[in-house]
């Protein structure tokens, strides 16, 4: 087992043998079904934290869809590195990241993240860490499609700040 310090300098637990699922999906994802299946696969966890990101209509922009571009190979590898970091930083039982690619209509799920641990703090933080990573540091590119046209969009300043919490 490998042990190494975290970015904060505090001693890190050993890399866990947590189960993991990492997937890019070109077809719609059913977050409720994924959460249920995730729960069935978990043994001996006191806490499961999940996150579902959904395409917003974004008020006045009347967004019809998002288009998610990605870099095959590079994107999966980046997510795997983030999952490995989460497993090294927190004592996790199971982790799952399922991210849509391609065109996603408003109202549909873009991403599902789940983390299971013995106690809630690790589950909450690992899930939060992975979502913040996906927002700014995973090779995806997001185009917003609305009645008025198409626009490639970048993370907000808040997204970069959130990501910075974990460094």
């Amino acid at each position: 087992m490998q042990s190494f310090g975290t970015a904060t300098g505090s001693p890190c637990c050993r890399r866990s043998a947590a189960d993991e699922v990492i997937a890019l999906s070109p077809s719609p994802i059913d977050a409720a079904a994924l959460a249920e299946a995730f729960g069935r696969e978990v043994e001996d966890a006191g806490a499961i934290a999940t996150f579902t990101g959904i395409v917003r209509r974004d008020g006045g922009k009347d967004v019809e869809a998002l288009y998610l571009d990605h870099a095959p190979g590079m994107t999966e590898r980046a997510i795997r590195n983030a999952v490995d970091e989460a497993k090294a930083r927190w004592p996790l039982v199971r982790v799952e990241v399922v991210h849509r690619i391609g065109k996603i209509p408003a109202g549909e799920a873009v991403v599902f993240v789940a983390a299971a641990a013995a106690h809630r703090r690790a589950a909450f933080e690992a899930c939060d860490f992975l979502v913040d990573f996906l927002k700014t540091d995973a090779p995806f590119w997001k185009k917003q499609i609305s009645r008025t046209g198409e626009e490639w969009i970048e993370p907000r300043a808040e997204d970069y700040d959130d990501r910075g919490r974990w460094r």
Partner: protein
């Protein structure tokens, strides 16, 4: 030849991929980009509207990194996922 792959807004301007002849044993990434910008106004315009990072053979690389014949060069606008 070097296979150049474009993502996000750059792919809208350039398509997904182009193969380019370096015309030399190796070139800095910045020199490849400068040449593409000189040859293609749509690329120059797209480049001006965003920050770009680079990857050589799927590894993030700085603008002064060297590209050799047979390498794959990816042009990466700011990531935005989730």
């Amino acid at each position: 030849m070097v296979k150049v792959t474009f993502y996000g807004s750059l792919a809208d301007a350039m398509g997904r991929e182009r193969s380019i002849a370096l015309g030399a044993p190796f070139l800095a990434v910045s020199a490849v980009i400068d040449r593409l910008a000189r040859e293609d106004a749509a690329f120059s315009s797209a480049l001006a509207r965003t920050r770009v990072r680079f990857a050589i053979n799927d590894e993030i690389a700085p603008a002064d990194a060297i590209v050799r014949d047979g390498d794959r060069l990816a042009l990466l606008p700011p990531f935005s996922g989730g």
